[in-house]
Symmetry: C2
Subunit: 699 residues, 2 copies
């Protein structure tokens, strides 16, 4: 049996099951009229944002389509490339879109279900997360399958190696489309959500002194919209990109590793197994009625562990069957990835949860004011890079040597790629446990705004708080897989260049030594790119937040009766400001990812580009871990104080903690996650433009 056929079958299965879950969610009751009204406002804001975003992004895709078309016309690319690019972007956007559609419907239903029982609320929120998780993997596998079968048919007359080579290069472009879309969604959504959040807090909590999620705050709807467009739609597009990126980058290494079509079969079939395992896993998620975290976490993790177990067992037989005993090491590479992802997740949790020492210590620094909180949080984040780097280093070493021994470099690099696929194989369910968080968060907001029974808020808070932990684990997977995938892509870049060199009979030999000045300069520039990228995105959040502050202040001043509740705030204007600003500000960071590798290529040649990619991957990984963990720890240090420690809400310690949390917002939800996408997009752009660079580079 040709195992590849499992990919389209499982993708349909995933989408069908997602449809079934969505149907179940939508059947739930939406609650009172007031709840519906708030939910509608959030939904409309989110829809308006996405419409605007997709319009802007469509323009970018149109321009890129033309550029790629011209390059294809001149023979630098195959004619499929522009279409593959568009389809990647489309499906990535669609993943976010569907995830957000269901999330903006599940939020109010979760709030209502929380009135009944904790388990009902968990069911609704988790089902909504599962819809997104399964949509992401379903659409990912679907698009990969479509392109695989289409190109396989088209290139049917070529020999296997050439055929697979052509198929996988086109697939990389599809990955590039997905990454571009993901970057826009993460950066745009990240700017929106954090600007609204920071802006709402700065005036609402600090200046006017009203609580979080108070309906009198004109930015409150924008804040809730932000959770959906940033943490849901942005994350959906992001993980879609990670998922297909890991598969296509590994597939691209198949020919060089001498595996041919088998090398493509492995990652696609692991993904297919992962879909089934994730669906099975969802049935194991149910909770009792205690709101204590340990039990809830166990409920969610049960699903993930069941799925992981299934994958761990089945993929052994898969590798054995497809590659034989000779390459059974590939199986251990998969395991290395699965284990490394979990370990990084634990590290993230250790450094950012207030049940452990680092965040507790960080909370203590609030006693000497905001400055020491910031110093403490940054140094916590920096320190927290140690273990993830060691874990990734060990995962690289393990997957490389398991798959390739000490001699076969190409098999070794294939092993690194497959480790990333293994790490993300459980994405269907891990993303479900992650994406349910913002739904619970929104449900809490709706409960607060519509003055529900305190037990409702208590239940949604329990779920939300748990969401922080699962989000930490999710980040571990996203960030770890990004490092491994980026490495696989660098190897794919080298392979691509060598294919072109051979085909065009060029006089070029790689010199990737770190003492080659081109590589060295590339390393320096690559090391700088994530910093500049982070600067641009943080700056965008800062600027947009200031616009929101001005608008909220204006409304409190000009709308009479706003404070006593007799007049209603103009929510739409804040949503509009965030939307416009996010659209404008997401352009520069995205262009950076495209312009830099091309410019470096033209000036320093392909050796320089390889250096650039290595430098960006290394620094990007470390910086992303640091920003995610600093941000997470600040957030939880604040929550730790709000839980009644160190004087509780309103104390001086709390004020200092709020400063930390506000700084952490763009760290953890805008710049940090976007860097993961950036490092892969840089590689994909380099691969797609490789032929062009080889022709026109001054070196």
């Amino acid at each position: 049996m040709n195992l590849l056929i499992l990919a389209p079958i499982c993708s349909i299965l995933a989408l069908a099951f997602a449809g079934y879950l969505a149907y179940k969610v939508l059947k739930e009751d939406e609650g009172t009229e007031q709840m519906k009204k708030i939910a509608t406002a959030i939904r409309q804001g989110a829809d308006a944002y996405l419409k605007r975003q997709y319009t802007g992004v469509a323009l970018f895709f149109a321009v890129m389509f033309v550029i790629l078309g011209i390059l294809a016309g001149f023979g630098f690319l195959t004619p499929f490339v522009p279409f593959a690019f568009i389809s990647g972007g489309f499906f990535s956007g669609l993943s976010g879109f569907i995830g957000m559609k269901i999330a903006t419907r599940a939020n109010v239903r979760t709030a209502h279900a929380a009135g009944k029982s904790l388990n009902s609320a968990l069911k609704v929120a988790f089902s909504s997360g599962a819809v997104m998780g399964l949509t992401v993997v379903g659409l990912g596998l679907l698009d990969i399958s479509i392109w695989y079968y289409l190109l396989d048919f088209f290139y049917r007359n070529l020999d296997e190696a050439m055929r697979i080579q052509n198929i996988t290069s086109a697939m990389i472009t599809f990955g590039m489309g997905a990454s571009s879309m993901a970057l826009f969604a993460r950066v745009g959504g990240g700017i929106f959500t954090k600007a609204a959040d920071v802006g709402a807090d700065l005036v609402g909590k600090i200046e006017v002194g009203i609580p979080e999620d108070d309906p009198r705050n004109p930015a409150v709807i924008a804040d809730n919209v932000g959770d959906n467009v940033g943490d849901v739609a942005g994350m959906g597009a992001d993980l879609y990109e990670s998922y297909v990126g890991s598969i296509v980058s590994t597939a691209a290494l198949a020919v060089a590793a001498g595996l041919g079509v088998k090398g493509v079969t492995i990652p696609m079939t692991i993904a297919s197994i992962g879909v089934v395992a994730s669906i099975i896993g969802t049935f194991f998620v149910k909770s009792g009625e205690k709101t204590e975290q340990k039990g809830l976490l166990a409920a969610l993790r049960r699903g993930v562990y069941v799925s992981s177990g299934i994958i761990a067992i089945l993929s052994f037989f898969l590798v054995w069957n497809v590659l034989g005993w000779e390459h059974i090491g590939v199986y251990f590479a998969i395991l290395s990835g699965l284990i490394a992802g979990n370990l990084i997740g634990f590290c993230t949790e250790y450094f950012t949860s207030d049940t452990y020492k680092p965040t507790k210590k960080l909370a203590q620094t609030t006693t000497t004011g905001a400055a020491t909180v910031i110093i403490g949080g940054i140094s916590l984040g920096m320190m927290s890079t140690f273990l993830p780097v060691i874990i990734v280093a060990m995962a690289i070493a393990a997957s490389f040597y398991f798959a390739g021994g000490s001699g076969d470099y190409n098999m070794g690099l294939y092993g690194v790629g497959i480790a990333a696929v293994g790490m993300l194989s459980t994405l269907g369910i891990t993303l479900a446990t992650d994406a349910y968080g913002p739904v619970a968060d929104n449900a809490g907001g709706i409960a607060e705004m519509t003055h529900q029974d305190p037990i409702v808020r208590e239940r949604t808070d329990a779920l939300d708080s748990l969401g922080n932990t699962t989000a930490a684990t999710g980040k571990g997977f996203a960030i770890g897989s990004a490092a491994l995938t980026a490495l696989a892509l660098i190897a794919a870049y080298r392979d691509q260049v060598e294919i072109i060199v051979k085909k065009e009979n060029l006089d070029f030999v790689f010199n990737l030594s770190i003492l080659n000045p081109q590589v060295l300069i590339g390393l320096f520039i690559g090391g700088m790119v994530p910093f500049v990228f982070a600067a641009l995105t943080m700056d965008a959040v800062g600027k947009t937040a200031q616009l929101i502050v001005v608008e909220v202040r204006r409304q409190f001043k000009e709308i009479l009766g706003l404070m006593d509740g007799s007049a209603e705030a103009d929510y739409a204007t804040c949503v509009d400001i965030c939307t416009k600003a996010a659209q404008k500000e997401m352009i520069m960071p995205a262009l950076l990812a495209i312009i830099i590798p091309i410019t470096v290529g033209l000036l320093l040649g392909v050796n320089g580009v390889a250096g650039l990619l290595a430098g960006a991957t290394v620094t990007g990984f470390v910086l992303a871990v640091m920003m995610a963990n600093s941000g997470g720890a600040w957030d939880n240090a604040k929550k730790h104080i709000e839980a009644g420690n160190l004087g509780g809400k309103g104390s001086d310690c709390h004020k200092a903690a709020v400063v930390g949390d506000t700084v952490g917002d763009p760290f953890k939800d805008t710049s940090g996650p976007a860097i993961n996408i950036l490092i892969k997009l840089l590689s994909m752009v380099s691969i797609v433009f490789a032929a062009f660079i080889l022709k026109f580079s001054i070196f």
Copy 2:
């Protein structure tokens, strides 16, 4: 004529002239009894600190001496190595010691001279800076000369290549000693000064509401001591390390480049020319009586430009004479370095001075509170890495291709090393313009504490403020030369390994490709090291500052009459707390620099070490630039507000700016500058332990 003889001659000249300037400074009047009393307290605190520091460091050096001795006993090192190591540490420490001795005497004399005229004050402060500048270059050249002639005599029977090889490897150990000492001095001094500063401000300014430098603050003397032990003694040891590091690393590349003794002559003679040029330059520094910055800056820069001009002209003839037309490109490599150093200095100034847009914009972010100031400052720092990286990239490219053309890698790398030597050739005078800043700062503190005429404070403030600008330029040189020197050291590492491989007939070939997993893993670990190092040092500042806060609060509570001036604060306890804590906290970061390359070497082999060094150099450079510039911009944004903008002192904006400044303190004066030393020390340790690693590595 053998030009090498210029080195000892010029080193004696530098030391003699430094002695003459010191004599002139000491002849100046110390002012009133009260001034003398304060100055004595500062001096005693500084002396006590240095005594303690040198005791602790001596222990470290003793242990290292034994370890190196054992390695030499087993034949892994030449017998000179342990002694060279000690001598490097000794002279590095001595540079800082002498600089601090004169600075703690010049401060009170500057304060007194400021009562007469601006030019008198400038003369005293600048002379004190020049004593340090010339001591650093004088001792550096002296130590290099001693070892050169000693080893040249000892190895006189070997052929030229072998002789130079043996000489330069021993010299690297001498550099390692200097770097170790510098790291202790920078980290220890940096922790002391910033903990005292932050601690004094947190209680004094914020809680009790007394101004900066108020004698009632128990931490005020510690703060002033800190300026001397951190910004003077630390900087002296640091730049001594940079200076000799650039020379010995370039010399180490001489044999591989095929230049033999000529390759050693060039850097040593450039340094000799630089000494003479710096001495001449000092005569051009004099000011009028206007306190406006532009004129003062021109006065200082005149000296630097004269020196640079002399070097630019003479080194042309030097290269022509020694290497001939064939290698005249080496001259342009020197120029590239000189120009790049200045350009990075300008960038630093642009991003951190409040006469330009970035810092003005940062000051604006204070209107929305502390959180936006922090976000703004971090993103400013990250953004500011762009140009320095491009400049360094261009300097690498230019010096490489000027010296080596497109084919001769070894000459090219020699060119990169010589660019660093060129960049630092004016150190005698640039360090003078830099080191005078803390003297002026201290003078202002003494004037404030002894209630001098406001005109005195105005003049010292003018000088101090100018010091910030020249410090920015100085940082440009330190940071740029660190990147280039580190690269030269990586090349020297490769050469060293190849020498050992050849000598021992080992079966080893380098594979420095970035796709070699050993290199790749090394890159990741190297990329993480500067982050962990920064975390450790910032954390140390935070912890120590909290100890100071507790002590200062205690004194305000327990010493009756402290606030109304009827009782005196117990200054010594604060000095003692800082001293003890700095000693304790500097151990871990220093050990990191030694343990990491050895561990990586044992586990990943020499390829892995090369990756480690490249990763650490790239990330370290970018992170150091970011931390320095964020810190500098926060400092000047605060000063901008204190100058009366945005509500001036005591306004909400000012409070927010103080938070930024406090966070920036460890950024710019502890972690940032120490990273420059770290990246070189890692390389030197790797070189010294290369034979050991080759023997015992599991690869």
